[in-house]
Every structure is written in structure tokens, then in C-alpha cells.
Amino acid sequence: MSTQSSTPQAAPSTRLGTMAATRLVAGREITTQVRSKSFVISTIITVVIIVGGIFAMSFFGGGDDDPSPVAAVEVPAEVVQEIEGSGFEVTEAGSMAEAEQLLRDGEVDAIVTLDPQSPVGVHLIGLDDLPMGAAQQLSVMPTMDVLEGDAADSMMRYFAAMGFGLVFMMVAMGSGVMILQNTIQEKQNRIVEILLSAIPARALLAGKILGNSILAIGQALIMGASAVLGLLISGQTEYLQMLSWPMLWFVLFFVPGFVLIASVFAASASLVSRQEDSGSVMTPAMMLVMAPYFVVLIFMNNDFAMLVTSYIPFTAPVTMSLRLFDGGVAWWEPLVSMGILVATTALVMAVAAKIYTRSLLQMGQRVKLSAALKSSD
């Protein structure tokens, strides 16, 4: 074997397959970024902010010193004392109806009842919002419920919406800009000519999308894991149970949703040949990335808008996840929405490959979209 290794092997006689080339390009995209300091630092900062933020919220959340007023129903005196010891001002209510009246009048923040299922032996009931503030004053999370509406309503819902929207926007924007810069950089310093003399343009595009998608999904998972970690550390396991199912869907939607965004960014980038020109092609792609976040922010309580946007491919990953979180979604709805998303992604990828292949070697002025689609190579 030693003689063989000393004589260089002849150049391979077959061209590298598209799949193998794609993997190589993807590998380079990933290693270059993972090794860059800015990537490592920003990832660490993100984890610290998420874990720290959640932890701080639970720690300082119920931080007012005034005892919170609660109504106790059929709670023995020693338990009442224990609750008062945790910083509550307890009003004894004769019956459940009386306690509910106190809650509706705003005299108390929550109703306390005995509950053998609860880890601390009591059960908290809020009006239309889970009494998180009150619950956090207890050493261990009690069981909770609300008098009116869904348990998952309001604050938690807002939290989930912001979570899905922000994660999607931040990750897609970060990776999208990365794809944009890489593509323009390859065009600007002309390495693209050397690359294209070795591998087909569609392998280059596919590798870019694959590599950056893996990175983006990795980042999203890191953010998700940090959130879970933060909730675990601060003992807010209640949220975890509520989030697990929609989060799984969110991850499922995220994959094609991100590939869609990545294709748009790569195709846009191939139209220009200088970083200075990137602004003009970046704006439309950026708007697509920001759309889901602003849609949930503005239309969170508009059922019709949420219904419509949960079927629009660009907003579906976020709005459908939020609708799933709300509940009341038929089993086929996420599947249909996913189908539309996957089909759109495939279509956009095909168009992007066309634009990418045709404009990659056009240097100088920005390539007009119509020209890129019409040209014949």
C-alpha cells in the first residue's frame, strides 16, 4: 500500500455527480460558517439571552412585595396560613360562587382550592388568564385553571406567537443574508467561474440551500432547546407541556419554509455582482422573511386573517403553528397547508435554479429578472 500512496492517483475520469457536488458545497458552507467567530459568538449570546431571559422573568416576575389577594374556598386553616406565608392575602370565601364573584369583581387575583393532584396541594384559578404571577409565588408550580375562555389564552399565547415569529424571522434573516452575501461574494470575486467549470450551477445552488438550511434548523433547534432549558431551570414546566405539540409542527413547517426563503435569497443574489448592489434585490426577500412576524403581531386576534395566512406558504410556518397552539384546528388543516408550502417551495426552487444558472455569469449591471428568465442557457 505504501507504494500506492506515494504515486498520485490519476485524475478521476468521471465528473463528480450532482449529489456528491451538492454535499461538498453544503459541507463548505457549514464548516466556513460554524468556524467563523461571529457565528459562534452570536449563537452563545442568543442562548444566554433566551435562558437568562426566561429565568429572569420567572425570578423577578412576581416580584411585587404587596401580598396578592386570593380567595380560598374550602381550604383548611393550616393551609391558609401556609399560603399567607408565601405572600398572599387570603380572603376566606364561603362557597365557590362567592369566590367567583370576588374574582370577577377584581377583589382577588385568583381562587385557591384544595387539589390532591397538585404538587403543592392547592389549585389556582384565574379569571381569563392563568394566574402565573400568583403561581410563581409558590415554591412549586400548582395546578391552574381559568374561569373564562381557554387555558392557553392571552399572555401564554402572546408569548408563543412572539416565540414562533421571532425565531423564524431571526433565523431566516440571518441565514438568508448569509446566502445572499456568499452568492454575491462568489460572483464578485469570480470564483464562480472556477466552480462552474467543475460542477453544474444547480449543484452549487442546491449545496448552498442544503448547507444553510441545516445551519438554520440547527440554530432554531438551539433556540428551542435554550427555551426548554430556561423553562426547566426556572421550573415552569407548565409551559413546556402546552408548547410541545405546536413546537413539533413548527419544526416540521420550518424546514420547507426555510428552503423556500433560501431559494428566494439565492436567486435574488445571483442577479447582482457587487455587494454594494445587494440592497435593491434584498428588500423583497427581506419583506417575505418579516411578513410572518408582523402578521402574527397585527392579526393575532383576527381569526379570519389567521386562517388565511396559515395557508399562505410564506406565513404558514408561523401562523399555522400558532393556530395549532390555540387548538380547534382540524387534523387535515396542517397537512393541507404543509402540502401547499412544499409544492410552492418546489416551484420556487425550480424558478430560482433557472434564474441562478442564467445570471451567475452576468457581471456588471444588475441582471433584469425578465432577462434572466428569458435567456437561453
Binding site: P8, Q9, A10, A11, P12, S13, T14, R15, L16, A21, L24, R28, T32, S36, Q185, E186, Q188, N189, R190, I191, V192, E193, I194, L195, L196, S197, A198, I199, L361, A371, S375, S376, D377
Partner: protein, 308 residues
């Protein structure tokens, strides 16, 4: 042998290449010259398969040129570029792998080649940390790492310092001697003239002339004679049938029919001792100028110039 046969190509309705046919033989250097926008880069990109031809055929050693044969092509684009922030050994390894080498073989080749080019100490440095001259060497490595048997180089000497020019020259000659097809374009006509055995001249997307260098020199341009004598040659300029290009006291350079030139020589011999007589072949720049002035309409060009 690399052969192009009647390659045509247009960009958005404008025809850039008109029936371009050329051959580049193995074992020698073929120079590809032409003005800016003549179609050199487009032709080279088509040979490499980076661009598609609208029509025409290409063959390598008689076989239709396809993706497999092209995996052994090496290319140096006119505008140089590699990844500025990537370590040089890694980047050359990456390119070798894109050409189909296994990871270990690609790494070995890249490190070996960079070592040969005098960059053995800098393997782990990012490209942007190197001096311009060293960056050029990395660029050369990028086009050679997969041991190409067809080398296409677009302006390989532009922007090179003299050391790098010598390096590139050596590499090109070595590759040609090893039996590779080497086709390169250059604006430096003196370099092309000195190096190339074969020449292809292109203008406005058409091949204007092609063939062996000496053959082209004899066939094109204006044949001139040089006559030098120990006596004053002032009388020679007034002889019939003689057009003097330059004249010094003891030496003239003139255009004339072969017979007229011989008569002038015999007269000169009678008048004194002739130290030198012989035909002067046109230089490549002269041939090139002849072709390019033929092919462009000077009046139209002047009008354009005036309009600016």
C-alpha cells in the same frame, strides 16, 4: 487536440461569436489574441462548458467534448478570484474534491502543489493574508490541482509581477511538454510571440487568422528588408520601387518587391561593404494591428469617438 467547429453564440439578440473554429494541439502553447470584446473570454467559457454555445461542435482528440472530459480541464479566469477568508490549503483541497478527488488525495495534492509553488509555510493562512504575488500563486494552484490535460487561461499574465510571470511561464511550458493542450489569451503580444507555437487571432467574434506563428508572420503583415552598409545609404531612398520606413546613415528599413530589393543589394555591394541584408518578418503586434484595422471601420469608430 482540441477542436472548435463553427461555434456561434449571442447574448440577448446580439451575436458575439460568428462561426468560431479553432484548433489547439497537444504538446505546445497556443496563443489566443484579440482586442477587448473580441470574444476571447466567451470562447473560453464555451470551451469550459460554463456557457453554452448556440450552435457548433467541440471535440477533444476526435471525441465529442462532454462533461467527463471537462472534469480534467483547468481554468484560470481573467478576473482572479478565490474565497478570501478560506485557508489556502483548504480551498485548493475543496476545488480538487469538486473535480472528483477523494478527500485524502485532494489534501495531499493541494499541499504538495502549494509546496512546489513556495507556499508550504502558509498552508493554514487565509488567502487575504497573503501578498498579491502569493495570491496569484494560489490562483495558479487552483487551476492545476487536478492535473488537467487541457489548460485554458484567460490573461494569465495580467497583473503579475515578473517572478510570477516566470512561474506561470514555466508551468505552462511544463504542462505542454507533458502533453497537455494549453490555450491562453493575452494582451502582451510580445510574450505571446515569444512563447506560442500556434496563434489564433480573433476580432469582433470572428477568427481572423490562425496557424503556426512563423507561417503567419510570413503570410501576413508587410514584408520588409533591412540593409546596412559601412557607407552612406542616402542614395537608396530615391531608387524606384522602394518605400523607406526608416533611415539612418548606414541602415535603412524598406518595403519593396523581392527583385527590387535584390537589385538594391547589388548596387549597395558595388558602393561599399554591406554588413547586413535580410528580410524582416512583421512582429505579431504589426500583424495584429493590420487585422484589427482591417476589421474595424475607422470612419465609424471616429464618428463614435466624436459623439462621446
Amino acid at each position: 487536440m482540441l477542436e472548435l467547429h463553427e461555434i456561434c453564440r449571442g447574448f440577448s439578440g446580439k451575436q458575439v461569436l460568428h462561426d468560431v473554429s479553432l484548433t489547439a494541439a497537444r504538446g505546445q502553447l497556443t496563443g489566443f489574441v484579440g482586442g477587448n470584446g473580441a470574444g476571447k473570454t466567451t470562447t473560453m467559457r464555451i470551451i469550459l462548458g460554463v456557457l453554452a454555445a448556440d450552435s457548433g461542435t467541440m471535440k477533444l482528440d476526435g471525441a465529442q467534448l462532454g462533461a467527463t472530459a471537462r472534469s480534467r480541464f483547468g481554468y484560470m479566469p481573467s478576473e482572479r478570484g478565490l474565497y478570501p477568508k478560506m485557508k489556502i490549503a483548504e480551498q485548493i483541497t475543496y476545488l480538487a474534491r469538486l473535480h472528483g478527488f477523494s478527500k485524502s488525495e485532494a489534501t495531499a495534492r493541494a499541499e504538495d502543489l502549494l509546496g512546489q509553488l513556495g507556499l508550504g509555510e502558509r498552508l493554514k493562512d487565509p488567502l487575504e493574508a497573503l501578498s498579491l504575488g502569493n495570491q496569484q500563486r494560489v490562483q495558479i494552484a487552483a487551476s492545476l490541482v487536478h492535473d488537467p490535460d487541457v489548460l485554458i487561461l484567460d490573461e494569465p499574465f495580467s497583473g503579475l509581477d515578473p517572478f510570477a510571470v516566470d512561474l506561470v511561464l514555466r508551468v505552462l511550458v511544463e504542462r505542454a511538454q507533458a502533453g497537455a493542450v494549453v490555450l491562453f489569451s493575452s494582451h502582451q503580444l510580445d510574450v505571446v510571440e515569444r512563447l506560442c507555437d500556434d496563434l489564433v487571432i480573433i476580432g469582433e467574434g470572428r477568427i481572423l487568422a490562425a496557424g503556426e506563428r512563423e507561417h503567419l508572420r510570413r503570410r501576413h503583415g508587410t514584408l520588409r528588408y533591412e540593409l546596412a552598409s559601412e557607407t552612406d545609404l542616402g542614395w537608396a531612398a530615391t531608387q524606384p520601387g522602394i518605400l523607406v520606413d526608416s533611415q539612418e546613415e548606414n541602415r535603412i528599413l524598406f518595403q519593396a518587391e523581392s527583385e527590387v530589393a535584390q537589385q538594391l543589394l547589388s548596387q549597395a555591394v558595388q558602393r561599399g561593404q554591406v554588413t547586413k541584408f535580410g528580410p524582416v518578418l512583421p512582429t505579431l503586434s504589426e500583424i495584429f494591428r493590420e487585422f484589427t484595422t482591417d476589421s474595424t471601420d475607422p470612419a465609424a469608430e471616429n464618428a463614435q469617438e466624436a459623439a462621446r
